[in-house]
């Protein structure tokens, strides 16, 4: 009997510890967690079948508000995902590229330049922005490497176990419930509908004049912040060593006097990148060719709305297909059906935002349960540009 009692006791203790661990992980994953659109986007990336993406777009909000993967698939047949996070840090971009190589290994990796164009490194030190991306990454050597290099020693445990930081979030329920529900439904569904795209249904009207016409002939440069330039070079070295087909882009913005220096830093970045043998697409200067209308296609100075995003997606996708030789990869019938659904949802989102903007009801539109519910009222037919 002693042997059976020993075994039974060991089993009971082990099961008890497993239950505690599972409960903590469950709370950390779904309840006591700062779930926002960044979470849904990053998590959705890891749900993609390994090796199924033809292109991955990395960057900050400029990226995830500008390119519509569903539209690109519908018109050009290639699959893509927006592994982007709000104000992602420069080293965060490198981690994102490493994660893409680890899990997907696509034909093309596109990096939006934003993270490298700040005038200083304040963005890189902003813990809120670091959390927005890294809290949602699964545990990996890449994540551990970033934490070890960039996070102060005292704060590291909260990156490894976010429950330490967010245990107090229970006080913010029931308001947080709909994002928790969005996260749970995403997880149970196993794929996301918009592949990371997010927008705000608003047309930006500003008294501050746009200098977009001026940037077409702007060739002056300003130096990058030294640390950010070092990070950029480290990224390019990594791409060379690991044979990553990396290109850089600069999305269109509503450029004003206060942000004009970024245009010059973008020019400098183009020189650096080209010298190293990489392509840099200054789509900011191509806004006229893209058909971007300053008074119609932005929802604020930094981001295009769906009108601008549709034009930008068509332009960029065609450029990558023709210049970068981006080809549609193999998809099973089931995957094709999934991507058709992505295209349809993107079309519904466009019409929903168009409706909201026409009515003057400015609101965010993303992969959450409320927005997805509203989309059922809109047609999923392809969008024909006027």
């Amino acid at each position: 009997m002693r042997f059976q009692k020993k075994v039974t006791r060991t089993v009971k203790v082990s099961v008890f510890l497993l239950i505690i661990m599972a409960s903590c992980l469950g709370l950390q994953q779904y309840v006591l967690r700062n779930v926002d659109h960044n979470s849904l986007r990053v998590e959705g990336f890891y749900q993609e079948t390994p090796g199924s993406l033809d292109a991955v777009f990395i960057g900050a909000s400029d990226m995830y508000t500008s390119f519509i993967p569903g539209r690109a698939y519908e018109k050009y047949g290639f699959t893509s995902y927006l592994l982007a996070s709000e104000s992602i840090t420069s080293d965060g971009v490198l981690t994102a590229v490493k994660e893409v190589v680890r899990t997907q290994n696509p034909q093309l990796v596109v990096v939006e330049a934003n993270a490298f164009l700040y005038s200083d490194t304040k963005n890189d030190q902003n813990q809120a922005y670091i959390h927005k991306f890294f809290d949602n990454l699964p545990f990996s050597l890449n994540k551990l490497d970033y934490i070890q290099k960039n996070v102060p020693v005292d704060d590291r445990w909260e990156y490894i176990f976010p429950l330490i930081k967010y245990h107090g979030l229970w006080t913010e329920y029931p308001e947080r419930f709909y994002m928790m529900a969005s996260d749970l439904t995403l997880d149970m569904r196993g794929y996301n509908y918009l592949k990371g795209f997010r927008t705000t249904a608003q047309v930006f009207k500003s008294k501050t004049p746009s200098l977009n016409e001026q940037i077409y002939t702007e060739h002056d440069t300003l130096p990058l912040d030294p640390k950010l330039e070092t990070q950029l070079r480290e990224l390019m070295d990594y791409a060379k060593q690991n044979d990553v087909n990396l290109v850089f882009v600069r999305a269109p913005h509503y450029v004003t006097k206060s942000t004009y220096d970024r245009v010059k830093r973008s020019n400098q970045m183009a020189h650096i990148v080209n010298e190293e043998g990489f392509s840099y697409y200054t789509f900011e200067s191509d806004a006229r060719d893209i058909g971007i209308d300053d008074q119609h296609d932005f929802y604020n100075e930094e981001h295009m709305n769906v009108y601008g995003a549709l034009k930008f997606t068509d332009y960029v996708a065609e450029r990558f297909v023709n210049v970068e030789d981006l080809k549609p990869g193999f998809l099973t019938d089931e995957q094709k059906e999934g991507w058709k659904e992505v295209s349809k949802t993107s079309n519904q989102l466009y019409r929903y935002c168009d409706d909201m903007m026409t009515k003057g009801n400015g609101r965010g539109a993303q992969e959450d349960v409320v927005t997805l519910f509203m989309l059922d009222n809109y047609s999923d037919a392809p969008i024909e540009r006027k």
Partner: protein, 209 residues
């Protein structure tokens, strides 16, 4: 016969366990084949996928038959030994979570499948303990020893699975090695458990009032 119901139960466990061994082997072969499909060769891929579909079907059919045999076996055997009730309970729990897992994906699905794995583990542990109790009453040292060996294998397999889950985060390249090691240990574990069941069957047949 002293434990007729336990004997009936064990008689059902033996074919169930043999089916589990076949399922393990088939699953291992399927995983190897799926990982080596060359999607650029569509003709070859179609043939392979058809064969894999047959393989999957067999795996599912055998798994269901094995589950039903075990369930019936536990239901009958529990009348002679109480510990079999716990095996029955965890079998049902495992099945509920499998059914739930079929309709989920992502992290949630991993959690659900994890619960199922733990439930399966507990089914086997309590089945071994139940038979061990009977062997102790009959003072059958051989069965008791085989039971301990089977439990040791279970502990090692579980340990290897936990180490695999942890170490592959840091060294992804060893995942294949651990999978093969895990599959080999799994097979040995099944063999140890089967040997234990066969010895238990003999013991129960010979157990007289």
């Amino acid at each position: 016969m002293k434990y007729p119901k336990a004997l009936t139960g064990v008689r059902l466990f033996v074919p169930a366990e043999i089916l589990c061994v076949i399922v393990s082997l088939l699953t291992f072969i399927i995983v190897i084949l799926v990982n080596n499909i060359d999607f650029t060769n569509m003709q070859q891929t179609d043939v392979l996928i058809n064969r894999l579909a047959v393989g999957y079907l067999l795996v599912n059919i055998f798994s269901i038959i094995a589950f039903v045999l075990k369930l019936v076996g536990f239901q009958i055997a529990r009348k002679d030994e109480r510990q079999f009730r716990k095996s029955l309970f965890f079998s049902v729990i495992g099945m509920i979570f499998i059914l739930f897992g079929l309709f989920t994906a992502g992290t949630f699905a991993s959690f659900v499948w994890g619960v199922n794995e733990v439930a399966n583990l507990l089914v086997v542990i309590y089945a071994i303990l139940a038979i061990y109790n009977l062997a102790e009453k009959e003072d059958d040292q051989d069965v008791m020893k085989r039971g301990k060996i089977a439990l040791v294998f279970i502990a090692i397999i579980f340990g290897v699975a936990v180490i695999n889950a942890t170490i592959t985060i840091f060294i992804p390249t060893v995942d294949a090695v651990f999978k093969i090691l895990g599959a080999a240990l799994d097979l040995l574990g099944h063999a140890a458990y089967l040997s234990f069941l066969l010895a238990a069957k003999k013991m129960l047949k010979n157990a007289t009032v």
